[in-house]
Symmetry: C2
DNA sequence: TAGAGTCATGGCGGTTGCTGTCATGACTCG
DNA sequence: CGAGTCATGACAGCAACCGCCATGACTCTA
């Protein structure tokens, strides 16, 4: 494999993180990133589909990690247990050791809606991948989706707290969030208003206004 | 208020929906949308922040509707009950009567990742708004976030099924999803593997690999 | 009815993200 | 040493999006 200086992708990632930190995502041009990495703009777009993707390149590996963890969970584990186990595993084995990088990265993302959009679609991809892994465990479609989405929702909340400077480890925060979620769900959502449940069974009328 | 032909915004929305349907989002230029609406490209960007936003203009109203519904839920309702009640109310009062429009719109969104990103951030905004409404009911931050995110997660799954041609009403599908979510959460996520819970309490080691 | 003010719109020029295409030069292998 | 592969660069071009200013429709008031 012919190459000039090695690690072009890594250099681009590093340069982008620096520049996004220094002057913000919007005030950074792709040309500037490429220049700092000693490459051309054209080459940037050969490594990353767009200007945002440079911050999300690791998500593919995370997705595979989570899918594998879910599949390898003990056969006795409930769907949600398999999911949260995988998330805690990722938290301690992947996230914790990159704490500073992730905090920095999150600060950039929090400052920009376009980057938040990208982050959300990556989270959605994780949920989809987890759903597929649960299905491979023999779980039905609906509970698979819901366990995956609920798990990701808890992770999202936990990660936000952790990235803002929580003292506890991410795995701990994730666990606390999942336990709280179970409590919230256990309180039930059964017909808060009689009219509601009738409308649910019959149609749109009865609640209309 | 000086005006030429009324309903410029509506004409742009309509033209965009048509063109996105006909030839896809990517193969449609803003100039084409504006032309079909009898306006200029420049004017399009006065009404909509970008090319995607034209499909999501109603989400602000939905957000306010949900926040109000959550606040007005009976005082006895649990957080999740308040949220799902609001979602079912929106389903029957807002979504059902625009079924065909929404299905068409969803087909466009499903075909394009950029639009999916936008949809996800709108859903996240709904969750944030619902979280704030729960807080106003006196609910703590963590359960507020989780009830909101879990409710939106259930709605997301339900809406996807409904928009693909489910026979039942959206409110019914939402209710079924929430009930399934409760079941999934009730099975618990408690330590599927003894090593997991130790790791959660202690640190990253113990699970490491 | 005329003049002033408001406001939606159009037109224009510019920046930037992103792409297709082709040339170049580094590296590998025989 | 020559041929082939492959990462890169250079260039041209499109479309999204924005700032700026002009224009003309509409309203209000005297």
């Amino acid at each position: 494999m012919g190459r000039w200086a090695p690690g072009a992708r890594g250099r681009l990632e590093y340069a982008a993180l620096e520049l996004y930190s220094e002057r913000g995502f919007e005030n950074t041009t792709v040309t500037e990133i490429a220049e700092r990495a000693g490459l051309s703009e054209r080459t940037f777009f050969r490594y990353f589909a767009d200007k945002r993707e440079v911050l999300f390149w690791g998500s593919q590996a995370l997705q595979e990690f989570l899918a594998r963890s879910v599949e390898e969970a003990p056969a006795t584990a409930s769907p949600l247990a398999a999911v949260t186990g995988a998330l805690e595993k990722a938290a301690s084995e992947i996230f914790e050791e990159r704490r500073e990088l992730l905090w920095r990265r999150q600060k950039i993302i929090s400052a920009n809606p376009e980057l938040q959009e990208r982050e959300l679609i990556k989270l959605a991809a994780l949920a989809k991948s987890i759903t597929a892994a649960l299905r491979r465990r023999g779980v039905q479609e609906l509970p698979s989706s819901l366990a995956a989405e609920a798990g990701i929702a808890a992770f999202k909340v936990a990660f936000a707290a952790w990235a803002q400077g929580e003292g506890r480890s991410l795995a701990q925060v994730v666990r606390a969030a999942v336990e709280e979620l179970e409590r919230v769900a256990a309180q039930g959502a059964g017909a808060p208003d009689p009219a509601q449940s009738l409308a649910g069974a019959g149609g749109a009328d009865g609640v209309g206004g």
